[in-house]
């Protein structure tokens, strides 16, 4: 295996040489150097990017990472300032449709030859690939994937409900929640109350009810779909979820509830795959909870994609160009993606990485399997709550409606449908 890999890489290298004479000449002349801006600074995110930097240095590069702690907005402020100053980083964190939007304000690097050399396109989910090649050329590379609609079940709450079947459809889910309630689980749902958290409840509901309607309404913003019965049904489902939640959660992070979730005081959580890393870091045991794909009414897994990525900004310096080539190769490398995902709890972008081996958790394996199945049945869709489906302005306008609906029980589902359509019109 190592030998074939090497040979394939050599081949890839020669293809790259033919396609990118300038880049490669630069590479031979200068020691690769990379300036990077990301918001990853603490916890497993910080550990993962640090490990990536170490690999970059092992390959002889100079790694200059400038983390911008805080919200994504602050990272973008920093990026904007650098671009306006005519000094963009060689590479920066950016995701979803923002890649297309930002690529219009500063020149980016054409990565087509490198992507072709690595054979990356065939192993990336098609909807995801599209986001990273606005205008037809690859300018950004996805690094890791999370599903935002994983279902976490508390074993103790399951015991209280005397249930052992993992819910597959929303009907099953509602059923289990009722049983939990009857069995003495104080709050069947353990989610938090931040804006993305509220958004996730809605997207999980709609995509689970109908991935087709999700695609039409949320990803393509078709007016008919936005006002359609599926969206209304999704809002009705969100109301149920909200009613099963602890009203005291306010705007707290979901991790506030982890203890009660593990204790069986709360039953289920619809959360991204990252929650298992959070549970692990908080010192809870894997035996105490179950991870499964989120409810899907047609019984085939629906995967709400959330992917982190790097965008590459054009630089004239030969050492930075050499650094970009090296970084692109590293990001697409299965070994690097494995390392990265094993630190953060995500799954690799490459669908050809084998997750059965050591170092992968049960949850990651299930997530990986769900992704493959979802791609096969065209049920891998882009997350709204985590800025994958729409640009930030549109996303925020839609989340406004959703979060207000979650927090205000006097709003009827049909009113929410009308408001959502209105918000979309207003933000277009």
């Amino acid at each position: 295996m190592p030998i074939t890999t090497t040979r394939r890489r050599l081949l890839a290298g020669s293809v790259a040489t033919l396609a990118l004479p300038a880049l490669v000449r630069a590479q031979s002349a200068a020691k690769p150097r990379l300036t990077v801006i990301s918001q990853w600074s603490a916890g497993s995110d910080g550990a993962a990017i640090t490990a990536l930097g170490k690999k970059f240095e092992e390959k002889g590069g100079v790694w200059q990472h400038s983390p911008v702690p805080g919200f994504t907005t602050e990272m973008m402020n920093k990026l904007r300032a650098q671009i306006m100053a005519g000094d963009p980083p060689a590479c920066s964190q950016l995701k979803g449709p923002e890649i297309a939007a930002w690529s219009k304000i500063a020149p980016t690097v054409d990565l087509d030859a490198l992507v072709a050399a690595a054979g990356y396109e065939k192993v990336v989910a098609p909807d995801l690939a599209k986001l990273h090649k606005p205008g037809g050329k690859w300018i950004a590379l996805p690094l890791q994937i999370y599903s935002t609609n994983m279902l976490f079940l508390s074993k103790r709450a399951m015991d209280k409900a005397k249930a052992d079947k993992i819910p597959v459809t929303w009907a099953d889910f509602n059923d289990l929640a009722e049983k939990m309630k009857a069995g003495g689980v104080a709050y069947p749902i353990a989610n938090g109350g931040t804006r993305p958290d509220d958004g996730q409840k809605f997207e999980a509901a709609l995509a689970g009810i109908s991935p087709l309607a999700y695609r039409a309404a949320i990803m393509n913003l078709e007016k008919k779909a936005l006002e359609g019965p599926e969206v209304k049904a999704a809002f009705a489902q969100v109301r149920k979820i909200a009613d099963w939640m602890d009203p005291n959660v306010g705007a707290q992070h979901f991790s506030t509830n982890l203890k009660r979730f593990i204790d069986g005081d709360m039953g289920m959580m619809i959360m991204g795959g990252w929650a298992q890393g959070v549970l692990r870091n908080a010192g809870f045991k894997f035996e105490d909870f179950i991870i499964a794909p989120g409810p899907s009414d047609n019984s085939k897994p629906v995967f709400l994609l959330n992917a982190d990525a790097f965008i590459f900004w054009q630089r004239k310096e030969p050492d930075l160009q050499a650094g970009q080539t090296l970084m692109a190769q590293l990001v697409m490398d299965p070994a690097i993606q494995t390392m990265y995902s094993q630190i953060t709890g995500s799954i690799p972008v490459r669908t050809d990485v084998d997750l059965s081996g050591e170092g992968w958790s049960d949850g990651q394996r299930r997530t990986g399997a769900a992704l493959k199945e979802a791609i096969a049945s065209n049920q891998a869709v882009l997350s709204l709550a985590h800025n994958m489906a729409q640009e930030n302005g549109m996303t925020a306008a839609m989340i406004d409606v959703i979060t207000e609906y979650v927090k205000n029980k006097t709003i009827k589902p049909e009113q929410a449908v009308a408001r959502l359509a209105e918000a979309v019109e207003g933000a277009r």
Binding site: K104, T194, P247, N248, A396
Partner: protein, 307 residues
Amino acid sequence: MTNAAAMKPDRPALPEWVRRLPECLMIWVPLLLSAAHLVSFSLWTIWISFTPSTLVPVTGWVGLRNYTAVAASRNWQIAFDNLLLFGSAFVLLSAATGLILAILLDQRIRGENVLRSVFLYPLAVSFVVTGTVWSWLLNPGLGIQKLVHDLGWTSFKFDWLIDRDMAIWTIVIAAIWQSSGFAMALFLAGLRSVDADIIKAAQIDGAGPIRMYRRIILPSLWPITITVVVIQLQFAISTFDLVRALTNGGPGIATQLPALVVYDLMFQRSLLGRGAAAAVLMLLILLAVLLPYAAWRYLQRRRASHA
């Protein structure tokens, strides 16, 4: 300045402007830089508010479209109402709290130094920290309500943070906690500078403490009250980090404030033009409040110079 120069006839005959150059530089350069940045930044923002800018500033002209979009949005409408409520409630209550604290501290109590530090220390803490800690204390499941329940009074209810009609008051609480120390310091300073002779005279006339405060001391605090109100108003209008950490505009969008909307539009939603329009609207609100104050000051000064 001309007078000052004229009074020094024995100086060697350097041209006057050369002699006065250093002082002119020291006076004018900082003041002009400061004024220039304020004027040009404001004009720049006004210009941007008429352009179709999104991620970065661009040229172009969209007329009043950004303004109508902002004014029509629910976020702005809620933010505007909240600012009126939050602004007036916070300014009044924090001034009142500051005044009460100052009066209490002025009673020659022991440990005044320690107590004063206790009331002042929140000013030293960053808004993000204040917002985060109060989001725990005010959360019914984590903070005060839970504490009281654990003590046995289980029907006690204090859930403003999750009540969309009352949530804005949680920001008032946290903001009062953070900034009424400053009002206290100002008022305490005012109380301490009331003429001791007047107080003595009133005491001889047999005025009780309450009467003394109402008739003599409080009226003399009037100018300070204006300063307090201006400073707190500035605080109210620019409140941003505090809300972001405490409610982040929630529950839902019930605690939006203009500063939050401006930042959100400009940087989170990447709608620079609209964000600039919101900022300009915010400045107009501010002018509507400040102009009457400026007019009042002007009249007062004129009356003083005529007297």
